[in-house]
Amino acid sequence: MRKLLAFLNRPASRGNFAPRAANSAPFKILVCLLITGVVVVAAVNEYATNKYLNVGYTPDQPVAFDHSFHAGPDSVLGLDCRYCHNFVEKSPHSNVPTANTCWNCHSIVKPDSPALALVKKSVETGEAIRWVKVHKVPDYVYFPHSVHVNRGVSCVECHGRIDQQVVVGQQKSLNMSFCLDCHRNPEQVLRPLDKITDLGYKAATPADQVKQGTKFVHDWKINPPQSCSGCHR
């Protein structure tokens, strides 16, 4: 480096107008610009994406519901996702359960627990519990839950291992390329319909997954839209 600068700043054979340091200025500017460029590209790549902006969003909820205790075959209670999110197979919107749903069990299990005070109040007065929405796509994106879960796309593909989370946070980026990854290669994720809510399920090998996925794509005539109007209206 030092030798290179000395070479660039070597005495000219004839008289110079500019100071000798100016000889190496273009080179120095180029190096600075390059390094700055690398830093900016790295920063944009790291930060200007849902993977940074949205993933990890784990807000406090009004009622500290613990999914890892209640939900999934590996949990203590082993409830199916659909016990509470009961419209997921029928409706585009997967519902946050009503307080009545909590009360199916909690009317006889710890009904007076302070942790359930808000739920009890909601059951008695009909006042809504203000759950905080975690997984959010822009309002011009129309994601129908029922179509996906009825055609072999598990909850886990978008929501991650909710059954292992004490407080629910966003685990997947949910940006457009995330959607398109599956829409272009559905055979990578499709699973048997009775494993939809088994979040820990995995085909024996990646090759098996592709094999069964390809079969489902054929049998269920799966043709995920890749056009704008598939998801945007």
């Binding site: 790291e46 990890g56 209670l77 016990y83 409706s91 309002d139």
Partner: protein, 238 residues
């Protein structure tokens, strides 16, 4: 040059220490860099709405509203030749016959309308039993257990926690519930009983009948006379 690069290094270090890396958890609402139309002023399912006193987007029907289809099949609701199957076949929805007695058998007609305006027959077949199995395992097995013997996870946990719930969970293999007419079991699913809350909001009428059918299958399976069990199966049962 070295001064600029030193500045850049310090600035990068400051940025990284301030922003962290991907994957960190945060309780703050995500930043939307360009939020063009990401948040639109429209009514959404289970959305919040400060205009109404109860804070909800969803409005309850006005008192006296007569049901006409449901929100899951909006096209049928506004069809000119719409006929409400529930009013044509009320016992399918209530589980009771015209005199108010519980149906002893499964309803003969379903809620599906044939093109001629007739109700399609209601078939208790393998498809219905599969539907019943799926629904039973999600909604019923929690308390009543996979074999309908009342040993669901609720009972197990109640024993662990010392809750009173343990005494109230019905063993559906008991003679009392075997003797229930189909319609009464349907009625309990739809409207609840004692400490059991209603499941009518979770199961459609057809799904409730499917669960009744599957429960009957479970009751049969637990009271099978030994001489009816195939020899090959008998060898595997202890």
């Amino acid at each position: 040059m070295s001064r600029y690069l030193a500045f850049l290094a310090v600035a990068t270090l400051a940025l990284v220490s301030f922003l962290g890396f991907q994957g960190k958890t945060s309780k703050d609402t995500p930043v939307m860099v360009f939020d063009d139309m990401d948040y639109q002023a429209k009514y959404k399912p289970q959305g919040e709405n400060r205009f109404f006193a109860d804070g909800r987007d969803a409005r309850p029907p006005v008192a006296g509203t007569v049901a006409r289809g449901d929100g899951l099949a909006p096209l049928t609701v506004f069809a000119a030749d719409y006929r409400r199957a529930e009013s044509l076949n009320p016992s399918f929805v209530t589980g009771k016959d015209a005199t108010g007695a519980f149906l002893a058998a499964f309803p003969a007609k379903s809620l599906a309308l044939l093109p001629g305006g007739e109700l399609a027959p209601f078939r208790v077949d393998a498809r219905l039993l599969e539907l019943g199995r799926a629904k039973y395992q999600v909604y019923c097995a929690v308390c009543h257990g996979a074999a309908a013997d009342g040993n669901g996870i609720m009972k197990v946990r109640s024993a662990v926690e010392g809750d009173a719930a343990i005494a109230t969970i019905a063993n559906l293999q008991a003679p009392l519930f075997r003797a229930y007419p189909h319609g009464q079991i349907y009625d309990v699913i739809a409207n609840g009983k004692n400490t059991m809350q209603p499941y009518g909001d979770k199961l459609s009428p057809e799904e409730r009948w499917a669960v009744v059918a599957y429960l009957r299958a479970l009751q049969l399976s637990q009271a099978m006379p030994a001489d009816l069990v195939p020899a090959a199966v008998k060898a595997t049962v202890k």
